[in-house]
């Protein structure tokens, strides 16, 4: 190992220590350091976590036509029909997906109510397109993406965009008419590799979309994007609802698509 590599490893360890310290810190609110503080000691306390109270007015909308935002679910928590703990519970967020990866949600809007920040997020439940409100403190750090994959069920194509620019297109397989691939705006929840199922090809992406028909499928019928061991029947309406690509195509897509990216099914 080179000296540079050793030093890089040492600093990486520092960051890991910081990460551990961060995870070990309390998630509760604390009174921020007063801005009039003048002493170095006070500054070094860095007593800044979530604002104790916020007074934001209006609604902030995340993203636009080419950008979207997502965040990991930090705490298993209820999602409400409106930004209030007294509102109806729409669903309960979990911190893990059925595959065991970190659960992530797409961010739609933000408001302040009762001195707290609330986020409107997309929920991976039926009916597809369901949204709910969660406390800001129940999700982790925000991530932004400009990548989206557009699935055209009529033309049987998948087109990958970076911003407004199309960067890759491939023919696809979609659900048979009795098991249709659902339409809507979804996001990639995870990326799986090195599994032992030739039917899914070399790489698979789990989506927030769910089949409205195959609800008794293990884990409830989530839709994915993956490779295949039957390239001869693509493109076509051939699957149980998942989006299938030839293995060469899914490997190329896997270099461009990541968890959190948008998937629009038309």
């Amino acid at each position: 190992m080179t000296l540079s590599a050793v030093l890089a490893a040492a600093l990486t360890a520092t960051v890991v220590l910081l990460t551990g310290a961060g995870l070990g810190s309390s998630g509760s609110s604390s009174t921020p350091t007063p801005p009039r503080s003048t002493g170095s000691e006070a500054s070094l306390n860095l007593a800044l976590r979530q604002p104790a109270s916020v007074s934001q007015t209006g609604t902030f909308r995340f993203g636009n036509a080419t950008t979207s935002w997502w965040a990991p679910v930090a705490n298993a928590a209820p999602a409400y029909a409106s930004p209030s703990p007294r509102a109806r519970v729409v669903a309960r967020l979990t911190t893990r997906t059925p595959e065991g990866t970190s659960n992530i949600v797409r961010l739609l809007e933000r408001v302040a109510r009762g001195g707290k920040l609330w986020l409107k997020v997309s929920l991976p439940v039926l009916p597809n397109g369901t949204t709910g409100w969660v406390l800001r403190s129940d999700v982790g750090g925000y991530q932004r993406t400009t990548t989206r994959l557009v699935i055209d069920r009529g033309r049987l194509t998948a087109t990958l965009y970076r911003g407004a620019r199309s960067v890759y297109r491939a023919g696809i397989g979609i659900g048979q008419r009795r098991w249709p691939t659902p339409a809507g705006t979804f996001h990639v929840r995870n990326r799986l590799t090195k599994f032992a199922s030739p039917a899914y090809g070399p790489v698979a992406f789990g989506l927030s979309a769910r089949s409205a028909v195959l609800t008794d499928w293990p884990a409830g019928g989530f839709v994915g994007i993956h490779g295949t061991n039957r390239p001869d029947i693509l493109p076509g309406r051939v699957s149980h609802g998942c989006i299938r690509l030839r293995n060469g195509d899914i490997l190329r897509v896997a270099r461009l698509l990541a968890p959190g990216d948008l998937v629009v099914v038309r």
Partner: protein, 241 residues
Amino acid sequence: MTNITDEKTLPFTLEEVDKDGAIAEAHETLERFADSRASFLKKAALATGGVIGGGAALGALASPAGAATSGDVAILNYALTLEYLEAAFYTEAGRMGVLNGPLAQFARVVGQHERAHVAALKKALGSAAVASPTFDFKGTTEDATAFRQTAQVLEDTGVMAYAGQAPRVASNAVLAAALAIHTVEARHASWIRHLNDAPPAPRAFDQPRSMEQVLAAVGRTGFITRAPQTTMPGGSPRFTG
């Protein structure tokens, strides 16, 4: 009123100020380790009369591998970690739609500076540069009051952090570059203190802080988080197929 935050609006050029060439000469000295790209940047800076400090810092940091000691590389990576934090904080704050007026201008300009610091340090460290951690600013970028308080603490901490490392730097080139960043961090601290109605220069002597003190304090904020595990080798797909 003159916009004091925008370098392009400065009412003078380097050539007008540096009539005897002293600044340019110092600039040349700082760039003794620079590669051709850094030289290009230096010429660009001299030609425009802008980003003087940034050009010098980039030049001094452009290729320190041959000059910096192992300790200097560690210090540069420490600085890079703090700059990642600051750059991500201001970038996110600028996108969250809660800052207006002078506070928004502060976030925009300081964000540009912090991103430039990240770029310069990454270039200097090359393959030895640590990767950016992931961050959770826990709502402090989404509320103007929390933002201004956090910004003041981060900038004060940055000043103390650079001051704490200066005596430990072995290479003059690295020290010059670190000082070029350090003074800008001090300007940021004064700026946000002014906006917060706090004393811009509260004392005659600043107190340097050690790497351990600063890292422990940053760790306690919880701003640096573990990256979400969204990729799983060997994970079995449980979707419809």
